[in-house]
Structures are given as structure tokens and as C-alpha cells.
Amino acid sequence: MKVTKHIKTLNNANLKESAVKGGCGECQASCQSACKTSCTVANQKCERE
């Protein structure tokens, strides 16, 4: 987390980096094993982490 006088940044903002390294396909299908009726991808884990 980076904090300055006016702005607090909560995260590392690594989405672009993940595009280059990503795509292994080992992670969970989004709604498969929890909700079954709506799609949220951002709450999943990366299997590589």
C-alpha cells in the first residue's frame, strides 16, 4: 500500500504483468463450485501464487 498526502493506493496494480505471465488455465471455472448462477472472476485465486 502506498500512502501520500492526498492519495492512498491499496494495491500493486500488476494486471498488465499478469497478462504477460498468465494464461496457464489451471484456475477454477468461475461459477463452477460456489455460486452456479452468476459470474465473478476477480474473487478467484491464481493457481500459480
Partner: protein, 471 residues
């Protein structure tokens, strides 16, 4: 592209294409209106002119400089570089499967998208031979993928539990030979749970989804037996026993809210009071003409309720109490990669559903839609053209997604909902989109609030949903 919003006293800015989340003071929040993808080191005169009554020139200059620094670091108005990746994984292996082990159910829930258990195809159970063919199919089509997910679904899977057990046994007997790791899950209404089944599920199932709508009067209004009686009193003690014996393995108490239960925070809290911590309540999937459907006009009330639930979660976390709400889980640092986020759930491409008759569909919500039958396990047919159509359904091929701030969080939404409500898998389901965006705004605000109270440092933990308790 950015998305800025105010919620619960926080000024939040999401930089869509870097994923950065900033919490801003009022000056920075207001100055953002004068910034865009072409911002330069020198602030625009219009900004000084229009904001002079709220902030002095020095503060405006200083704050603008801080925002420009973020811009230079690629954390504000960062460019959209992702379309080049949109066609990655179009020929992906199939690694997830929903096995509709039972097209029969011992409940008659009013809102069931499976037409009260049989998907409109007649009540029947999947024979073991078909289930084994499903396991063979996913192994044969999973390429080099190691982790294979199989969910036993229905109808009610416990009505065919012996076949569930034998299917698991079969998969376990061959997984090492093919260098696979099966992760089984089961989704149940709980009526047939007993001690043996609880022990088996807790041993073999990676995750278990237990259906309950919350308060007794809410649950029993729509989740009823064939003779019209509510199921709450039967299932709750069984769920409590299962969860108590489950240890740290995953589970969800999963409910549905309808227009009759738009005050669903009370249902979430009721689940918590029953001793459950992993909770999910979802909007009903149903024809908008039905009286219990969530309609566009219901959205303002549902939004307020999500805010109430978010605030309840924050207040509990501040007191050291814990529950997890599935749709408020978000990992701002180590979530799925951008490639995954482009294409979402992978239905019809990486994920399929199979029926007791061996028919293959893009996902469990397409079952019974004849135009979307992809093939059959018994005759060996499989429509690779349809697989490719689903593979190409990504946030850049969906007309409403490309310019939406939430595209890397919902990843294009639910293709089945898009088809059912909008008639096209590439047309976003509007009510679903609005609900998803509201949940995301709440989820990000929760992160800001917990960071503020020192409860969370922004998801540096493994799961992203524990709010640092596990770290």
C-alpha cells in the same frame, strides 16, 4: 479508463487497465474530472478556475502533481493493451465439468432454474456407466491441465449418491495414471444428508455448496417439499453438523434472494447466527414476468441492501468477528491473471455440463436448450464449432463490455444469463451487470475501509478473502 465513485465516505478511483485502486481526498477526487488519457504535467487552467472556491491554488497544484505521478507510473488512465490477448486460449482444453448426476429432486423450489429438478426433460438419474464416460471425456479432453474440477449437481445429487461415490472412486483410480488431480464438489439441498454422507462429503469433496435461503420464513416460502412444506427445520441441523466436522475445507451456505427478500442482509446475518461463516446469497435467475423476479425497478433497493451488507461486514470485522460473503471477495493484488479475466467462466470452452442421458451442454444453465446441445457422451459427438463460439466470447467481443469499467472483474458476465434474458451470449444481461457493478463497488470499498482500520493491507494473503486474518 477510470471508474470513480463515492461510497460510505470513501472517494475511490479504479484504474481499469492497471487494476490500481486509489482512495482519494476530496481535492484529488474533484481534480480527476480535469484529467484523462492525455494528461500533461501542466494542470489545465479550467481546473483552477472552476475549483478555486473549494481549494487554494497551492493545494490544487500539489494534488494534481500527485495524480500526474500516478499517471506516469501507469496507475492512472493506463492504456488498454489487452485486446491482443483476446484470442489466447481459444482452443483451450476442457478442465471443468458439471455432472448432473440426478435430474430428479426432492424439493420443488418455486424459483428453480432447473424446472424443479428435471430441466424439463423428465425425472431420471444418471447411470454409473454414463458418469464414468463423463470422467473419461474430461480426462481425454483436458490436454495438459492437471487440476480437473467436477461438480455433482442436479436436481438433487444425494438422490443418486451411490453413483456419486462410485464415480469418485473411478476417477481416483485413474487420475494418477493420467497425471490429473480431481477436485470434486457437490451442490445439495441437504434433505438426504446423514452421518455417513456427511463424513464422505467432508473426506472427498474439495468444496460443498449447501442450499439455504436464510431466515426460516424466507427459506420456507419458496424452498418447499412436493407436499408444500418448508425444509428449514430438516436441513439446518444437518448443515451445522457437516460444517462442524468439516475443519478448514471449503464450503458455502448458498441462498437465493428474490423480490420477496430484498432485505437479504437479515438472511446473511441469520446464517452467521446459525454458526456458518462462508456465505453466498445470489439474485434469483428467473423470467422477469414472474412475481418473485428481480427486475430493473428493484435495483435501487437491492443496491441499498448490498451497501447495508457491506457496512455490516465492516462493523463485524472491526469487532474481530468474521464472515465471508462470496460476492464481496476480491483480491486486489494476486487475483486471476488478465488472460483469465478476459474470458470469464469458460463455459462451453473449458467447462461443460453433462446430463443423465449423456448430453453435453456449455454449462448447467444451458441444459435443456436444444440449440445449445454440444454433443453426447454415448455416441461420441462433440460440436467443436460451438466450443469455438464460446471460446471467442470475451470482453472484447461483447459489445457492452469493452468500454465497461467492470470488465476485468466480471469478465463479460454469465453467457447463460445473456442468452436467457437478452437472446444472445454476446449481449450483456443488463440487470445482472448492474448488480455485479454494485457488488464490486462495495467489495472495493470494504477493502478501503478495512485498510483504514488497519484490519487489512490490501489482500496480500493467499486467499484474498480473509482480510488478513490468516496471514
Amino acid at each position: 479508463m477510470i471508474h470513480k465513485y463515492k461510497l460510505n465516505g470513501y472517494n475511490i478511483c479504479l484504474d481499469v487497465h492497471s487494476g490500481a485502486v486509489h482512495v482519494l481526498d476530496d481535492a484529488a477526487y474533484d481534480i480527476l474530472d480535469y484529467c484523462d488519457e492525455t494528461m500533461s504535467e501542466k494542470p489545465p487552467e479550467k481546473m483552477f478556475e472552476e475549483l478555486k472556491d473549494k481549494y487554494d491554488r497551492e493545494e490544487l497544484e500539489e494534488t494534481y502533481a500527485a495524480l500526474f505521478e500516478l499517471y506516469q507510473e501507469g496507475q492512472l488512465f493506463s492504456p488498454d493493451d489487452y485486446e491482443q490477448f483476446a484470442d489466447m486460449m481459444t482452443r483451450a482444453p476442457i478442465k471443468s465439468m458439471c455432472i448432473n448426476i440426478s435430474h430428479d429432486c426432492n424439493l420443488r423450489c418455486e424459483y428453480c432454474f432447473a424446472a424443479k429438478g428435471d430441466f424439463g426433460q423428465g425425472r431420471c438419474l444418471m447411470p454409473l456407466e454414463t458418469a464414468k464416460k463423463a470422467i473419461d471425456f474430461i480426462i481425454a479432453n483436458s490436454g495438459t491441465r492437471h487440476n480437473l474440477e467436477v461438480d455433482f449437481f442436479g436436481g438433487e445429487p444425494l438422490m443418486n449418491f451411490e453413483v456419486v461415490k462410485k464415480t469418485v472412486e473411478y476417477a481416483r483410480s485413474i487420475e494418477k495414471k493420467y497425471n490429473k488431480n480431481f477436485r470434486f464438489t457437490i451442490t445439495t439441498n441437504g434433505l438426504l444428508l446423514d452421518d455417513d454422507k456427511i463424513d464422505y462429503i467432508n473426506k472427498e469433496m474439495h468444496n460443498v455448496v449447501l442450499s439455504l435461503d436464510g431466515r426460516k420464513e424466507i427459506n420456507d416460502k419458496l424452498r418447499v417439499t412436493p407436499n408444500g412444506k418448508g425444509c428449514y427445520d430438516i436441513i439446518v441441523p444437518k448443515y451445522q453438523k457437516l460444517v462442524a466436522k468439516r475443519g478448514d475445507k471449503d464450503y458455502y451456505i448458498r441462498g437465493t434472494f428474490t423480490t420477496f427478500s430484498k432485505d437479504f442482509t437479515a438472511d446473511v446475518m441469520h446464517m452467521k447466527e446459525l454458526g456458518f461463516e462462508q456465505l453466498s446469497i445470489e439474485p434469483v435467475v428467473s423470467d422477469p414476468k414472474l412475481d418473485y423476479s428481480i427486475k430493473y425497478d428493484d435495483l435501487p433497493m437491492v443496491f441499498k441492501e448490498y451497501e447495508k451488507l457491506a457496512n455490516t461486514l465492516i462493523e463485524m470485522r472491526k469487532k474481530g468477528e468474521y464472515f465471508n460473503f462470496f460476492h464481496f471477495m476480491i483480491d486486489l493484488n494476486q487475483g486471476p491473471c488478465a488472460i483469465k479475466r478476459l474470458r470469464g467462466c469458460g463455459c462451453g470452452n473449458e467447462y461443460v455440463a453433462v446430463t443423465p442421458q449423456g448430453d453435453i451442454y456449455p454449462c448447467h444453465q444451458f441444459v435443456g436448450e436444444e440449440d445449445y446441445k454440444m454433443g453426447n457422451l454415448n455416441d461420441g459427438t462433440f460440436d467443436n464449432e460451438m466450443k469455438l463460439r464460446f471460446a471467442r466470447a470475451n470482453v472484447y467481443s461483447k459489445e457492452n463490455c469493452k468500454d465497461c469499467w467492470a470488465k476485468f472483474y466480471c469478465s463479460g458476465g454469465c453467457n447463460a444469463n445473456n442468452y436467457q434474458y437478452e437472446g444472445d451470449i454476446l449481449k450483456s444481461h443488463k440487470v445482472g451487470c448492474e448488480l455485479e457493478k454494485k457488488r464490486l463497488e462495495c467489495a472495493i470499498m470494504i477493502k478501503a475501509a478495512l485498510a483504514d482500520y488497519g484490519v487489512d493491507e490490501g489482500s496480500d494473503c493467499d486467499s484474498g478473502d480473509c482480510f488478513a486474518e490468516c496471514c
